[in-house]
Symmetry: C2
Subunit: 260 residues, 2 copies
């Protein structure tokens, strides 16, 4: 347990403990508080809000960066946040940040993203939380502009908090610092993936499949994250974990459920 | 591809192809349309909206119930829905139902639930979709009342559709048909889990953990799913996959993101 008055910042991701994006995020946060990293020991992209309930979990301290507190966990991104609070920090951190993801988590990707699910788990715990993603899948992606904006957004969260029950989904276009026009607060674009499974045959002649797909955005709104990113802005979408479609309640109240 | 005019109904779950709850749901749907089952080949509880992107997927036809179309898939519940559309049905079904889950998916559990994520994937595809869960973890749970209500709700969805961008989260209390008071349309209760990881030592003296926790509901509203279930009602919560916290946008627009 820290004795410091500096904020306690939990950093995690879904690309795993060795991902350059995680190291970039730690670097961006380092003068804002005392950092503890708890990240998956292997890539966990696309894990959504999965938790490990039918298997055991391991957590090991790793010596990757001298005086930082770095831990690798055998579980999912959400497991990392849960374990960090209960078994490593023994308290709730003041800020939970996840990323920087190698690849976009804009629009519908928020649902599949381990990066965003880790941040959502932080928010469920009542911790101000944000996920950061960069629109570049490359292992050697240039995070220099992303780091400057991630630091600023984290600072704003530490100073101002976030509205109850919300977290931030921050996506950064693949651009230099000079090219980025600024930050736009957006809504999630109503886009989706159309699957095209790649069918193959293994050496024993059995069929198997790989998930592939095309991203389709038919949402033409200029207030969406997709619009912002396509037009040179960093997108910030406030996300909530109350999934209730409140507007649908009157329609559902009009149906006759009686079976007696 | 079916030549029938009857609705095509896709049934899936997260407890796996052998779970009694899946068989109960198929039984409840059988006179409403032509059923295809695509379910995980092993239990996938707590998988949330996970998808398989770093591994291959297998799908095999299984002969469990004579003339039905039953398939088991090596992936997650969401993978099952995606594969069913692209490689098994070769079209979108008219209804996608998931469950009946052995255990509650009310309140915050909607986020962790593979059952609900499968239904959400159906809804993202534009298919009227619902997840059904029963508040009984037992393998020999009595699904007789649940089946009657699942059938009625599925029939209402087929007849009336659902508001755009929404799906249903249906939870059924552990009660007899006579004890159940009816159906209540609700909002998701703002409850959560408090983790208490169980720490153990393996034969080589290394520590490991099991996820355990306590469910805490401090939401006293009488319009929540938790209230309905505790008071003898089946809860129906409309769920949406637009996670944007629209009410938080003005607050976020008031912050100064400038770093230049």
């Amino acid at each position: 347990m820290t004795q410091s008055k500096r904020p306690v910042i939990l950093v995690t991701n879904d690309d795993g403990i060795t991902a350059p994006g995680l190291h970039a995020l730690v670097d961006a946060m380092k003068d804002l508080g005392d950092i503890t990293v708890v990240a998956p020991d292997s890539p966990q992209s696309g894990m959504g809000h999965a938790i490990t309930i039918n298997n055991l979990l391991r957590v090991d301290k790793v010596d990757l960066h001298g005086n930082h507190n770095w831990y690798q966990c055998s579980g999912t991104p959400v497991d990392c946040v849960k374990l960090a609070i209960d078994k490593i920090l023994h308290r709730k951190p003041d800020l939970c940040v996840s990323g920087i993801n190698h690849g976009s988590n804009s629009s519908i990707n928020v649902i599949y993203s381990g990066t965003m699910s880790a941040a959502m788990e932080g928010a469920i715990e009542g911790i101000p939380s944000a996920g950061f993603s960069m629109l570049d899948y490359a292992l050697d992606a240039d995070f220099s502009a992303a780091k400057i904006y991630a630091r600023r957004i984290a600072q704003l969260i530490l100073e101002n908090g976030l509205p109850k029950g919300t977290l931030l989904n921050v996506n950064i276009p693949k651009m230099t610092f000079d090219e980025i026009k600024g930050v736009k607060v957006c809504r999630q674009a109503m886009a989706k993936w159309v699957e095209e499974f790649d069918e193959r045959t293994d050496p024993t002649k059995r069929k198997y499949y790989w998930l592939t797909g095309k991203f389709i955005n038919e949402d033409k709104g200029q207030d969406t994250d997709e619009w912002a990113l396509a037009n040179g802005y960093i997108s910030v979408v406030p996300v909530q974990f109350d999934f209730t479609a409140h507007h649908a309640i009157p329609f559902l109240n009009g149906l006759d459920y009686n079976v007696k």
